[in-house]
Amino acid sequence: MRSAVLSAAIAVSIATPVSAAPTLNVYTYDSFVSEWGPGPGLKEAFEKQCGCTLNFIAVEDGVSILNRSRIEGASTEADVLLGLDLGLVTETAELGLVQAHKVDTSALKAELNWQDSQFVPFDYGHFAFIYDSRKIDSPATSLKQLIDSDASVIYQDPRTSTPGQGMMLWVNGVYADQSASAWAKLAQHTETVTKGWWEAYSLFLEGGADYVLSYTTSPAYHQVAEGVDHYKAAQFSEGHVAQVEVAAISAYTEQPELANQFLQFLISPEAQAIIPVTNWMLPVIDGIELPEAFDKLVTPDTIDFTPQAIAANRAAWIKTWRDSAAN
């Protein structure tokens, strides 16, 4: 999960100090760079070893990183795109926005079975609906049950947000050609569809809805950081969609060496120890010690999608969602 933060500034990354040291610009999503997110810790650790300035530039969510890079094309400032996920890698690669990395990925967990020559994973997890167990006694046990219910739901826009896109995969995985009617049903009790994960989660914590789309790891944040355990992830019998968050080097960067160095750092034990307890997702290498709260998380089955299948259907699925969720 990305850090559940309510009080940090959104634009952490505006000013770039004037200095001779090179600056590495990293496009990412807002919660990543918030005060409680992994951004500050990673910045401090990486700047110690690179002799450079690490500059995060934040947008609302993962898909927005792709949208923005696509619009900017060759004039982009980005050296690294951080926070895309498997659902976007094929499209990003086909658009020629990224280049091959030189990162040694041999330390990655075997279960990730990582082969990609352009993208490097930095954390992963399962999407899940989070609820407040003080308000809800018997949570939904399947996606169908949730969609058939009248519980209020907040999720994210699949056009801007990777969790939103995960939701889209989930509905299409479970409902296949019945997805349109499922979206229409869900729209009846959708509280709001937000641009990014942070907006959705903030609104949920304000009591804005019964369920919010987030990650199975979200409850760990509340246990570790706040010492409360009433926020729980609902485990669905159909299985959950998994997310692998990735980073890649911009095709237009002028400092590929530094960018490679950053990606290598991102999967080092040092960085991987920071990410789980700030971004609240699982580490991509073995041997990282996690707080106890991680042992208590639900471990759902995975609904699999290949990046190619997502890339081939994304536009059509978005259209179905857009048409059916607009009643």
Binding site: L6, S7, A9, I10, A11, S13, I14, D30, I57, A58, V59, V63, S64, N67, R70, I71, E72, S75, S152, D157, R159, T160, A187, T190, E191, T192, V193, T194, K195, G196, W198, E199, S202, L203, E206, G207, G208, A209, I318, K319, W321, R322, D323, A325, A326, N327
Partner: protein
């Protein structure tokens, strides 16, 4: 040495050419390039029809409710002239010029999940969607309707008022014979204006829409461009929006008839008799009106907590404010310059009894009102993309497009006085054979007050911009409204309220300047 007239003519025509060039470039962009083409298939897309239906539906409801709220209040103000009427009217004016994002913040503070009024609302209450949109639209627009309807009431002939009361006409008869004929045209005019404003609504729907079920054309264009980078869809939707909004605008062309700064005239000496019970009922409603107007202000202030004030990132806030002021200042000065240059040829044409030419100049100067901000911005944006100059030029266009959109309002502010100047002093000054510099300084000195009010008005309008910034702005370097949007979006209402209050204070200040100079320039 160039004569004054030739300089005036030349600069005037140069400015006209610039205005036409912008429109041309926007259309060039909308005509498409490479794979971005007009896509007639979208016409048959159910989504397009749903957007159209929703745009019309929310605009109709917003208009209807605004009028239903404004009308009784206007009648009460007219007939009872209760204490505080002037203050109430000024509050209305402030509400109408309040930047949308400020209203959005107070709507969320009042009606959101943790809202101050939440416990008075039904359990199933949902702010995001039609509810939120209507609340914000009505709050932004009914004050305008109220002022205009009151003006209309105040222009009822005194004689017929007396006659009606001598004839002891019943309330219904009074209304039908006396008030309705007078109000009809105002209702139609202000109703159409509100309808257009709501049809073209962007920020309110962006922040309070809550998903694809509540999307207007303006928002759909933005989403096609920024959420999907689907240029074909963006430019096709822009054409639709242009066709609909443009014809709505052409159908009415009512803006010029509405003097929304007016309604300051003192009440006439005569007061109609009002039944005691009706008077009390009216006063209760009047108090409710005060409550409705003050509640959002109260909401903003109440959600500013000392801890939030202490921990606020003032650097971000002040930089956003600085950016907003710079953009608004740039846009206003550009627009003022354009206005000063565009007025003389128009007045000259009138003097030469060439009304068609004068009307043509006027139309070109104000024709950007017809195309909603989003359409114009989208066109220019696509054109810039196709020419690869987006990055270097976006700030320039951010300022210029804001300038073009405030220009029509500035022209209205300046036209009368500029014409009066020509009539009074034109011949005299031409005979004195003064240098260009001296003439200009005399002219500017004469126009000082209207220039002042035009300046304040320009700043006021440009400070609230969200649409153009959404297209051309860099979100890492937000303006104040965009900062409020990102705070409110992630439900940080304390921060949003602080930033909103700051913006509102600046607007109130500008309004004071505007009212003062507007009033004096009329004397």
């Amino acid at each position: 040495m160039p004569t004054l007239r030739s300089v005036q003519q030349l600069s005037g025509y140069a400015a006209l050419a610039c205005l036409i060039a912008v429109t041309f470039l926007a259309f060039q962009g909308l005509a498409g390039f490479n794979n971005a083409r007009f896509d007639p298939e979208l016409l048959r897309d159910p989504y397009t029809l749903k957007i159209l239906k929703f745009s019309l539906w929310q605009a109709s409801l917003s208009t209807l409710i605004s009028l239903l709220v404004a009308w009784p209040l206007a009648r009460i103000l007219y007939r009872l002239n209760p204490t505080g009427t002037q203050q109430f009217l000024r509050l209305c004016l402030l509400a109408f010029v309040t930047p949308t994002l400020v209203v959005i913040t107070s709507t969320m503070v009042l009606f959101g999940p943790q809202g101050l009024l939440r416990e008075f609302l039904p359990a199933q209450w949902k702010l995001f969607g039609l509810n939120g949109i209507l609340i914000a639209h009505v709050y932004l627009n009914f004050p305008l309707a109220l002022r205009i309807l009151l003006q209309s009431y105040q222009s009822l002939p005194l004689g017929s008022e007396r006659l009606a009361s001598q004839l002891k006409l019943s309330s219904w008869q009074r209304f039908r014979v006396l008030e309705w004929p007078q109000l009809r045209s105002s209702l139609l005019a202000v109703g159409t204006l509100i309808f257009i404003l709501c049809f073209n609504s962007f920020a309110v729907v962006l922040a309070l829409g809550g998903g694809p079920s509540a999307t207007t054309f303006e928002l759909a264009i933005y989403q096609a461009l920024k959420y999907q980078f689907n240029l074909s869809e963006a430019l096709t939707l822009s054409w639709f929006q242009f066709a609909i909004a443009g014809s709505l605008f052409a159908l009415t062309a009512l803006l010029s008839k509405i003097d929304w700064l007016g309604a300051r005239r003192r009440m006439q000496g005569w007061q109609p008799d009002v039944h005691q019970i009706l008077r009390k009922l009216g006063l209760v409603l009047y108090l409710c009106g005060w409550l409705v107007m003050l509640l959002p202000l109260f909401a903003l202030l109440s959600s500013i907590e000392p801890t939030k004030l202490a921990n606020l990132d003032y650097r971000v806030l002040l930089m956003s404010l600085g950016r907003s002021l710079l953009i608004a200042l740039g846009a206003t000065l550009t627009a003022l310059l354009l206005a000063l240059v565009l007025l003389p040829p128009q007045i000259e044409a009138l003097k030469q009894h060439r009304p068609v030419k004068a009307a043509l100049i006027n139309w070109i100067s104000t024709h950007h009102l017809v195309a909603p901000a989003m359409v114009l911005s989208t066109g220019i944006y696509i054109w810039l993309l196709s020419s690869g100059a987006l990055k270097q030029w976006s700030t320039f266009w951010l300022v210029l497009l804001n300038a073009l959109l405030v220009l029509p309002f500035l022209l209205t502010q300046l036209r009368t006085n500029s014409r009066a100047y020509q009539q009074q002093y034109g011949a005299l000054i031409a005979n004195l054979n003064l240098s260009l510099l001296v003439r200009s300084s005399i002219y500017l000195r004469y126009l000082k007050r209207p220039l002042m009010s035009a300046f304040a008005l320009g700043l006021l309008l440009a400070l609230g911009d969200v649409s153009i910034f959404a297209i051309f702005g860099s979100y890492d370097a937000p303006t104040l409204p965009w900062l409020i949007y990102s705070y409110a979006g992630s439900y940080r209402l304390g921060e949003a309220s602080i930033a909103s209050t700051l913006l509102l204070l600046i607007c109130a200040l500008l309004l004071l300047v505007l009212e003062k100079s507007h009033h004096q320039s009329k004397v």
